[in-house]
Symmetry: C2
Subunit: 206 residues, 2 copies
């Protein structure tokens, strides 16, 4: 099987929404090219290597008070092939944080694929990455997304929008987005089998 | 609104499946009796107080390497009204861990409601809590559940089984289970509005 794994860097920050990062973490870290339960006991047929990254290595407090220790800081993270920017109320203060926006921009420039969940799209927009693209976000932030960058063609009623950069609607739509990325990279069978493993009902509505 | 919140204790352990605990954490911690986005910015109308509990306060490594710091150890946890036992490969070693099984038994005796996600049901069974009850677990562990306690009426093809103790099928079924508990306690409207906030498609198939 693949020995060279695609790295997935999941950005963490204070007041990140729990399911925004945990859903995609689950999907990418449990995807296997070999089907079944046993294959999940090792990393042998795992096509991704998934890790979390925050501004520093300090423990992050997600919404509801969940405490997560990031695997890496901006400075220490390995190369990121697939960047995932989750949302949450914590995005609002980061809209004016140059260190974060600069890191997102630099990481995106080198990544093969850039994705967001929920209001993570606001950060991508603010970093200038969604200019003239179709994109979506949590239903409560659709207007704000268009205000940050008026060239964005904001999509309502889509769980996943793929316009080179892949954005998704709120919270649990990040699971659909991750499965869609798995499908694009490794085919329908691998994505469906992973969905079956985590017993997630793929709606097929993108 | 409610000032006395129901406490939700989510058990963590090494090799707990990420979405097993993170899905329910998201649902219970984001439920509000007042609808809308603004209500989620404070705990004022939150009916639950959600926290994680592990054997000790040491950082737990979930599947895929996610590092989570438990809020409490067995010894230091506040009273738990609603116990949630998630699954994951880590359950297998705990099937013979008297400290864990004893804590689950003691905590369940005092709790108003006991729930499990995925292979968390194996631990409830081993603790003797599912005797002569209907229950379910991840599809790959249905047989094992019946082997641990042959009096259990193992339910296939159900996402959520409520027989006083509430068990659920694998991984993302924990989200359905949590929303079902919210509905039982606070009504359909509150559960549906929470599902809408996290953009989770309730299947209605229990």
């Amino acid at each position: 099987m693949t020995t060279e794994k695609l790295t997935v860097g999941i950005f963490l920050f204070d007041q990140v929404e729990v399911l925004d990062f945990a859903g995609p973490f689950e999907v990418f870290s449990r995807t296997r090219l070999t089907p079944g339960t046993e294959a999940r006991r090792s990393e042998d047929s795992a096509p991704f290597r998934v890790f979390t990254v925050a501004k520093s290595e300090a423990t992050v407090e997600a919404t509801g008070g969940l405490q997560v220790v990031p695997a890496y800081a901006f400075e220490t993270a390995p190369e990121i092939n697939l960047l995932l920017v989750p949302g949450g109320f914590g995005t609002r203060t980061l809209l004016n944080d140059d260190a974060t926006l600069g890191w997102i921009r630099r990481t995106s420039n080198k990544a093969q694929l850039v994705t967001s969940v929920c209001t993570g799209a606001l950060l991508l927009a603010r970093a200038g990455l969604l200019t003239s693209r179709r994109a979506t976000t949590h239903w409560s932030a659709l207007e704000l997304l268009g205000e940050i960058d008026s060239t964005i063609a904001v999509q309502e009623d889509h769980r996943v929008v793929d316009d080179d950069i892949v954005t998704s609607a709120g919270v649990s739509a990040g699971i659909d987005m991750s499965l869609a990325v798995v499908e694009n990279l490794f085919g329908r069978k691998v994505a469906d089998e992973t969905a079956r493993y985590i017993e997630y009902p793929r709606t097929g509505r993108f």
